[in-house]
Amino acid sequence: MAEQGGLEVSGLVAGYERLEVLHGIDVAAQPGRLVAVIGANGAGKSTLLRTVSGLLRPQAGTVRLAGVDVTKFSAERIANRGLAHVPENRLVFPSLSVLDNLLLGGWTKQRDGRFAQRRDEVFEMFPQLADRAALAAGALSGGEQQMLAIGRALMSDPSVMVLDEPSLGLAPRVVGEIVSVLARLRDDRGLALLLVEQNVRAAFSIADHVLVMDRGRVVAEGTPAELADDERVRAAYLGAGAGPARPASTSQNRTTKEDQ
């Protein structure tokens, strides 16, 4: 049931050096759907996204993008095929201006002549960025950098977007703003979205489907309503014996050491 334009991951095994982090993950995001992955630090959520977008080579399993097997593709080729990855910690190009960041976001589409149109769409979505177009991206606030990272990803006109903790370290108001943009991308543009979050509340508020990961495995999945009172959600996220969920802004930056 390979969906046109969707993302389908099956049996994914991946890790770093001799350390296996993912032990067989299945997840699918169809166009117009938002799938959220939640789980504690070290559950393997970022590793999942890094493997999906080709930054890490999986040891086993397949990744299909719009029905095409891209498992062995490099990150650049996968980007070319319409998958945009909004990385953890935003990773904007700090010394380049906001506009240049967007320009490079459209790298894979540099010849289709629609840069201006897409840029205007991004500015319409995030008016704050328009005001700061000439500013170096490193000078933006955390929330603005997150918007820029999403905007940069949109410049390649992707069919699938994966996001790694876009709420990280942001004020609730900004989180709300970003959540509403994600909802819009799903509903208006029909993007397939795969969202990794530690902010369970934000994730539950928009997801069509939620996966709970714990130490490299999917331990529960279902609709937010089905999972809302699931003991496993709390166990995986908060540790056994923890009290009621209190997840807002509880994540902290982790190493994202890059293998080159």
Binding site: E17, R18, L19, V21, A40, N41, G42, G142, L168, G169, P172, R173, V175, G176, E177, V179, S180, A183, R184, D187, D188, R201, A202, S205, I206, R215, A235, L238, G239, A240, G241, A242, G243, P244, R246, A248, S249, T250, S251, Q252, N253, R254, T255
Partner: protein
């Protein structure tokens, strides 16, 4: 002692080969052998520097030249006895290494490499320019060594004079690798900041190895001068530096044996290129062997980064039929296997071992202020990361530091542990001001830490990591390490390290490479490593992250035991409920400011804390929902 036999058997074998070689080989072969030993001696030092300390020297010939020239000058111009001039020459090379190392070793990686390359060039400029070094023609007429009226002037004789020196040099270097100092150097190479926070004075250690490597090169230079009877600027040349580097890389980084095998191999390449190239390309002259060096270097890096040592492990693994993956530069087991077993049994027998380890700290009375932070401030440009924070920590309590992302918790830790210097304010550990001091100074006073972004010593095992934690609780230095005279201390380190490993429930992982463990287990290794130091103040940065429920509970128990022993524990943690259950007092940071400090119940009720951090569930819900809702309705209309 079967293990001792096994350890020294390869050296005995080498000794036998060295004795026999001049008797069976032709004179020209022995001649090549003499050069291999001379250069090999310098390569041993460079191997320590590169393999152990992870520092590259592209100008190693500089120290070689200092040794050679000093010896030549003393013996030809001042008639100094050979032995004396040898000693003085080696000391001179070490002195130069010390003087140059002081500023240069502040550099890392590329900068250090290029600076040493520059040093090499400057030395060759100097020897070409100075009258005392004989300018371009050099110094002639150095007599052959003479001991008890026996003149070592034939290749055979000289080989036999040189061989024991090289053998001893090799044994000393190998002992050093396995000593306390070697362990600390390996740790510095893996994570300098973690080694510092465990009390390793990284700069001093690097400098010592640099000076030692200079000494090896200086001694090699002396033998070179003796053998050639002439010292010319060639002894300081870039070619020679490349040769030393190639010997180390070809032999295999991280093994001192590699220096010798590499030296023999490079000398062989050198000789064969010199005879072969003019045949292949008529009219070729000059240093044509360079092409061999360059090509071999490139091929090595691409095809065989572990050098001949890697080839050896691959071949022996194949022969044994184990078929397992050869480890390029695996950690050598540090202490004899037999001793390990007994120690392990001891550790298992004594149940209260952790308390024994912690008791080493001479902990102050409970309730004494052990850490005082006043007006601690850190600014980056216009951004204030930590803004005038004050708090005290008492012996025998657990203080938790919580707050949202970017509140400045880790920055506080960094300033307390000496990783960062504060912009303003003070940090007092047991009454001593430590702000702006190096982390090892703070560790010496009894405060150590773990890291939010893991800083394990990746090239080592779990036990190897924990042993570095014992650095401050043991004393043997470079010399004792080289002479392998710290056996008793090593056994003590082994015992306490195993006890600490057991306290964290890591027994089954003791000898596993730490890199093979899941992140949560690696975090526990960091805690074990910090506890092994027997700290007075233990700073833990998110120790619970990545741990399962059961592991969290076990860690909680461990921290209670640590507190009961009288240690002050400060922890940064995100799991608020775990923190509230564990901590005696809780400090809340928001936007760099301390907004609350008190017992868990007080803090939980504090309106400022609720507003800034905890929030109410309804508030957060409303925000997110309304944002999504606003948008949805906007679209409909």
């Amino acid at each position: 002692m079967g293990t001792r036999l096994r350890t020294y058997a390869p050296f005995a074998l080498l000794a036998a080969v060295l004795v026999a070689f001049p008797m069976v080989a032709s004179t020209s072969m022995v001649n090549i052998g003499v050069y291999a030993l001379i250069f090999g001696l310098a390569a041993i030092g460079l191997s320590l520097l590169m393999g152990l300390a992870g520092q590259v020297s592209l100008g190693h010939a500089a120290f070689f030249a200092v040794g050679a020239y000093t010896h030549a000058i003393l013996i030809t111009r001042h008639d100094v006895p050979g032995l004396v001039s040898t000693v003085v020459a080696v000391l001179a090379a070490m002195l130069v290494a010390f003087l140059v190392g002081m500023p240069l070793l502040r550099l890392r990686g590329h900068f250090l490499a290029l600076a040493t390359l520059g040093l090499g060039i400057i030395v060759s400029v100097v020897v070409r320019e100075l009258e005392i070094t004989g300018r371009t023609s050099g110094i002639f007429g150095i007599p052959k060594p003479e001991i008890n009226n026996r003149v070592y002037d034939t290749p055979q004789e000289f080989f036999w004079l040189l061989a024991p020196v090289v053998l001893i040099g090799l044994v000393l270097a190998r002992n050093l690798v396995r000593s306390r100092t070697g362990r600390a150097l390996g740790a510095v190479n893996d994570s300098e900041v973690a080694a510092e926070c465990l009390g390793v004075n990284t700069f001093a250690l690097r400098l010592r190895v640099f000076v030692l490597a200079g000494g090896y090169a200086g001694l090699a230079g002396v033998f070179y001068a003796y053998w050639l009877a002439v010292v010319s600027p060639e002894a300081s040349g870039f070619l020679l530096s490349v040769k030393f580097l190639l010997m180390v890389v070809l032999g295999g980084l991280g093994t001192v044996w590699g220096a010798i095998t590499g030296a023999v191999a490079v000398q062989a390449i050198d000789e064969s290129m010199r005879t072969l190239m003019p045949v292949l390309i008529p009219g070729a002259s000059g240093e044509v062997q360079l092409i061999g060096f360059g090509v071999v270097l490139v091929l090595l890096v691409i095809l065989l980064p572990g050098g001949l040592a890697q080839l050896w492990t691959m071949v022996t693994a194949r022969l044994r039929g184990s078929g397992g993956k050869a480890r390029a530069s695996g950690e050598v087991p540090t202490v004899a296997v037999a001793a390990e077993h007994t120690a392990r049994l001891d550790a298992a027998a004594g149940g209260a071992a952790l308390e024994d380890v912690l008791a080493e700290a001479e902990l102050p009375e409970r309730g004494t202020v052990v850490l005082r932070v006043s007006n601690l401030t850190k600014r980056y440009g216009g951004v204030v990361a930590v803004d005038g924070v004050d708090f005290e920590v008492l012996a025998g309590e657990i203080l938790a530091l919580i707050g949202p992302n970017g509140a400045g918790k880790t920055t506080c830790f960094n300033m307390i542990s000496g990783v960062l210097g504060p912009t303003a304010g003070s940090v007092e550990v047991l009454g001593t001001r430590v702000e702006g001091k190096q982390p090892h100074v703070v560790a010496e006073l009894g405060a150590t830490r773990t890291f939010q972004n893991l800083q394990v010593f990746g090239s080592s095992t779990v036990l190897g990591n924990v042993k570095v934690g014992r650095h401050l609780r043991s004393r043997s230095g470079l010399l004792r390490g080289m002479l392998s005279m710290a056996g008793g201390e090593e056994r003590q380190i082994e015992r306490t390290s195993l006890a600490t490993v057991a306290a964290l429930g890591l027994e089954s992982e003791t000898d596993r490479p730490v890199k093979d463990l899941p992140f949560g287990r690696q975090r526990q290794v960091e805690v074990a490593r910090a506890l092994a130091l027997a700290p007075t103040i233990l700073l833990l940065d998110e120790p619970m992250a990545g741990l399962s429920g059961a592991e969290r509970a076990a860690l909680g128990d461990l921290l209670h035991r640590t507190r009961e022993a009288g240690v002050a524990v400060v922890l940064v943690e995100h799991d608020v409920d775990a923190v509230m259950a564990l901590a005696d007092r809780v400090a809340v940071l928001d936007d760099g400011r301390l907004i609350a400090l008190g017992d868990p119940d007080q803090v939980r009720q504090d309106p400022a804390v609720i507003a800034a951090y905890l929030g109410t569930d309804e508030q957060a819900d409303r925000l997110v929902r309304s944002a999504a809702h606003d948008h949805a309705t906007g679209e409909v209309s």
